[in-house]
Amino acid sequence: MLIKKVLKMSIISVGLLILIGCSTTRKGELDEGDQSNGQFSDSVAVNGVGDESNFYGDETCRDPLKVGNQTYYFAFDNSTIQSTDIASLNIQARYLVCHPGAKILIAGNTDERGSREYNIGLGQRRALSVERFLRSKGVSKNQILTVSYGAEKPVAFGHSEEDYAKNRRANLQYQTPVVTNQA
């Protein structure tokens, strides 16, 4: 506990200095700016502080808001992650890096069209696409399990483009309880 107190004091002092040179971040947001703060302050133990009211050991491991089960959608015959999903993926990645014991299952799915076993292959591409992204952010291979359900687990059952779009997805599911408060 004493170490923590000392750490907190050094953060405040160092952080104040860094704050001058870096963009401010509002409470509750983790964006690209946080990463550059981290890089700036690599000579001290932890990163700058963006939030005055919460004093945690490491800003990147702060209160994990928006961490939880996620669904990411894909275009037809495609396994590229959509740019609108990157922010959410970064949040999950950050949580997983901070909690090396946390585990997720990524399930890839396709719409109903076409041959079932070929769709298993396509679903796998989607699941692996999400895995690859998370690993590029430092998540360990041991924390991620992937599975493909192909077209076998639809959530929409009609033949419209909307139904198809709802099924072309990767579901990211936490297999360990999500920690919502830092000890």
């Binding site: 076409g114 041959s115 076993e117 070929y118 796998q124 076998e152």
Partner: protein
């Protein structure tokens, strides 16, 4: 996590056939010039179950083939060849007549069944087939199908498939609970029995060539594994549960080897061969494409498989000994799930043309001519009947999945909807002894 969930429950064969068919076989299109045939109701003891009425089963079998126009008179006479009136039938423009009798033996439950197929074209009664059988009450439907086979083969020259079976996956959804069931039924939709019921998906059932076992993919352990289950007693073995994809099992002609799709440590599935006894694996394809859905040639020397190595999924042929791979399909941008006809001269495939997914047959001899057999645009999973005459497939033209059968020339079609849920991923059994 698994407590309270029904995951893999292997149910024992039911001894008593259900009163209704699990799938309701309906002929939707028959040939124009059907062969007229008379089927007279067999005489039988009054105590007999309606469901086992042999005359009715034979009538339905022959009608459903699409090749016969069956006349079933209101009368229940004649029952023996001698009683048949040639002039009566010729007046009806019917040249072939089936008659029969069912009698109860005095001792116990056995029945004696006699039937005859008579031709009256020459103005007199010419007996084409005359047989007598002894059977018990549980086997009457099966005997009726055997009689249909005998009649069919005599009159068309082609072996009948009325005694064959189909395996398929039935999916029922209540609220948010989903139940998957691998079922085996007679090819007319009766006698459906579950081999596996699970809350997780089941896929790709494949009959062994001796008709005794079925291999399939089950997600009951959250990740896919391939099981081999013995049909008559439900015993099963998990034969493949490598990391990643375990899929598309296919039996070699001698039932010693399973071809399958495994991704293992790779990103995409590749084709492997597994010796079933030793479980030893041999990798057959390499690279970054999706390779899956292997199916054996009749001589066991090559495999068809689906691969997107050329951009989109197409059918390739792999010669096992040399490893040589040759592309077979060039019609359209999507061809998948190919299998050979029993004579090896054709392949049936899932083909996409302008967004419509239909079943097509490609003639390997005749300059690879392709004929599209179905037209709903929402079809998949084709397989040949063991006599090469019909193709069984799944279809979802609206919201409910059903099965379809179509003749190889496209002229005859049938549908098999189920009253509850979706039916999918069907496969036709081999001839069963």
């Amino acid at each position: 996590m698994k407590i309270g969930l029904l995951i893999g429950m292997v149910l024992i064969n039911l001894l008593i056939p259900p009163a209704r068919a699990a799938l309701n076989l309906e002929l939707t299109k028959g040939v124009f010039n059907q062969l007229p045939i008379g089927v007279v109701a067999f005489s039988k003891p009054s105590s007999m179950n309606e469901n086992s009425d042999i005359g009715t089963i034979v009538k339905n079998d022959l009608s459903h083939s699409g090749q016969f126009k069956v006349f079933m008179p209101a009368d229940t006479f004649p029952h023996t060849p001698q009683q048949v009136s040639a002039s009566y039938w010729r007046h009806q423009r019917v040249d072939d007549v089936v008659v029969g009798q069912v009698q109860k033996h005095d001792a116990g439950h056995d029945y004696s069944v006699k039937f005859a197929l008579i031709n009256v074209a020459q103005g007199r009664n010419q007996i084409l087939i005359q047989r007598e059988f002894s059977t018990d009450g549980q086997q009457l439907r099966r005997l009726a199908h055997h009689i249909s086979d005998l009649i069919y083969e005599k009159l068309t020259g082609v072996r009948g498939v009325f005694s064959t079976r189909i395996a398929y996956v039935l999916v029922t959804r209540n609220d948010h609970r989903c139940l998957y069931s691998l079922q085996v039924a007679d090819m007319d939709g009766y006698n459906a029995k579950p081999l596996l019921t699970s809350t997780q998906p089941i896929m790709s059932p494949a009959w062994s060539h001796d008709g005794k076992r079925i291999a399939y993919v089950s997600f009951e352990n959250k990740l896919p594994g391939i099981y081999i289950e013995t049909v008559n007693n439900g015993e099963r073995v998990l034969v493949s549960h490598y990391p990643g994809i375990n899929g598309a099992p296919a039996w070699s002609p001698d039932d010693q080897t399973l071809a399958l799709a495994l991704s293992k440590e790779s990103a995409t599935p590749k084709i492997y061969l597994m010796n079933i006894a030793s479980k030893k694996l041999q990798q057959m394809t390499y690279g970054f494409s999706i390779d899956t859905e292997p199916n054996w040639s009749i001589d066991g020397r090559s495999l068809l498989f689906t691969s997107d190595r050329g951009g989109g999924p197409q059918i390739y042929k792999l010669t096992i000994r040399s490893g040589n791979i040759q592309r077979l399909t060039f019609n359209g941008s999507y061809n998948a799930r190919a299998s050979y006809s029993p004579d090896g001269k054709k392949i049936v495939i899932l083909n996409r043309e302008q967004g419509a997914y239909n079943i097509a047959v490609q003639d390997l001899d005749d300059e690879n001519v392709v004929q599209t057999l179905t037209h709903s645009g929402y079809d998949a999973s084709p397989s040949f009947s063991p006599n090469g005459q019909m193709v069984l497939y799944e279809s979802k033209p609206e919201r409910r999945g059903l099965l379809g059968m179509v003749s190889v020339d496209g002229r005859i079609s049938l549908r098999l909807p189920t009253s509850q849920g979706d039916v999918q991923d069907p496969t036709w059994s081999p001839f069963l002894s």
